[in-house]
């Protein structure tokens, strides 16, 4: 009797089908307008002598995605810390005829429209470097551009070294 019961149990287990279960979930992502920018740590301005203006180039890389139809994007610059120490050039309060100006180049799949310089850089407001339109997209590595600086070489500047800080801002909507 005990032997028959064991045999029956083993048979029942052997005939049971394998058990499976399944369920689903959604993976969603909200992709919005977005932008980022990177720029080199420092840009030296140099001159060719004989009171030629100081010039230098800042290269930047930006990633951008703008909204279809209504979107826009831009890169702008602002001198957030004026030249220091005193006695040298100044963006905020230059001597008559002095200025820090720039022109722009930019290229990439976001089809940027670069500024047509010379544009005078300011400490009081951001000024335009480039614009992109609606539904524009840089490459994954980023699109690139340059800001080409020109600073008046005023004899009135004291001999010395001067540094200012320029903030590059990219915006996308």
């Amino acid at each position: 009797m005990k032997k028959s019961l064991l045999l029956f149990a083993l048979l029942a287990l052997a005939l049971s089908p394998a058990a499976f279960a399944a369920s689903t979930t959604s993976v969603t992502v909200a992709v919005g307008a977005e932008a980022s920018i990177s720029v080199g740590a420092a840009t030296p301005l140099t001159e060719a002598g004989n009171f030629a203006n100081y010039t230098g180039t800042t290269t930047f890389t930006y990633q951008i995605r703008t909204t279809p139809s209504t979107g826009t994007g831009s890169v702008s610059v602002k001198v957030t810390t004026d030249f220091a120490p005193t006695g040298g050039p100044s963006v905020a309060s230059p001597a008559a005829g002095d200025s820090l100006t720039y022109s722009c180049t930019a290229t990439g799949t976001s089809t940027p429209t670069a500024c047509t310089g010379p544009i005078t850089a300011l400490t009081t407001a951001a000024t335009n470097v480039l614009n992109v339109g609606a539904d524009k997209h840089s490459t994954l590595a980023g699109d690139s551009g340059t800001v080409i600086w020109t600073l008046t070489n005023d004899p009135n500047y004291k001999v010395g070294s001067y540094t200012s800080v320029v903030t590059f801002t990219v915006a996308a909507a």
Binding site: S26, T28, A30, V31, G32, A33, E34, A35, S36, I37, S38, V39, G40, A41, A42, T43, P44, L45, T46, G49, N50, F51, Y54, G56, T58, V79, T80, F83, G88, P89, A95, A96, G97, D98, L100, W149, L151, T152, N153, D154, P155, N156, Y157, K158, V159, G160, S161, Y162, T163, S164, V165, V166, T167, F168, T169, V170, A171, A172, A173
Partner: protein, 174 residues
């Protein structure tokens, strides 16, 4: 359930703000002692008659920036090519003792120049001073100005003709 998910996705997109990103870079420059000078292409010397000396003026504009404390600056002239032609005036070998090309100087500007006290005899063998400036001096952006007033002996011995010399103006700053 699907409708709710759709609405939530739409809401998330609508609430996505405009995106900004900013980074900074330093713009640096080293300002050194520096100088430049411009001068007119030619200066005509004219005589007043009756063997009065030939005279003429050369105007020049200079930009200068000198180093604080130890800096100096100067403008000099040198006759780098003597009067051409035979029988005329000569700076290197005047035909008569006492013949000379001399000059006096005028200058003004924010660099506070100290001008030469003429008459100074111009030379082919060395540069001679027109003006000097001290330490930490700065011309205007347009440049400070000066004048060299030339006087050349009107020696009857000079042959009739036209004669040209080249004078080099040099500005230096340290």
């Amino acid at each position: 359930m699907r409708k709710l998910l759709f609405i939530s996705v739409l809401l998330a997109l609508v609430l996505t703000p405009a995106a900004f990103s900013a980074t900074t870079t330093s713009v640096t420059l080293a300002v050194g002692a520096e100088a430049s000078i411009t001068v007119g292409a030619s200066t005509a010397l004219t005589g007043a008659g009756s063997f009065g000396s030939y005279t003429g003026s050369t105007a020049f504009t200079y930009k200068i920036r000198t180093t604080p404390t130890t800096g100096t600056g100067s403008v000099t002239v040198q006759v780098t090519t003597d009067f051409s032609g035979v029988g005329g005036p000569s700076v290197a070998t005047p035909p008569t003792a006492g013949d000379a090309l001399t000059y006096a100087c005028v200058a003004s500007g924010t660099s506070s120049p100290t001008v030469c006290s003429g008459p100074v005899t111009a030379l082919t063998t060395a540069a001679t001073s027109v003006l000097t400036v001290g330490a930490d001096k700065h011309s205007t952006l347009a440049g400070d100005t000066g004048t060299v007033n030339w006087t050349l002996t009107n020696d009857p011995k000079y042959k009739v003709g036209s004669y040209t010399a080249t004078v080099t103006f040099t500005v230096a700053a340290a």
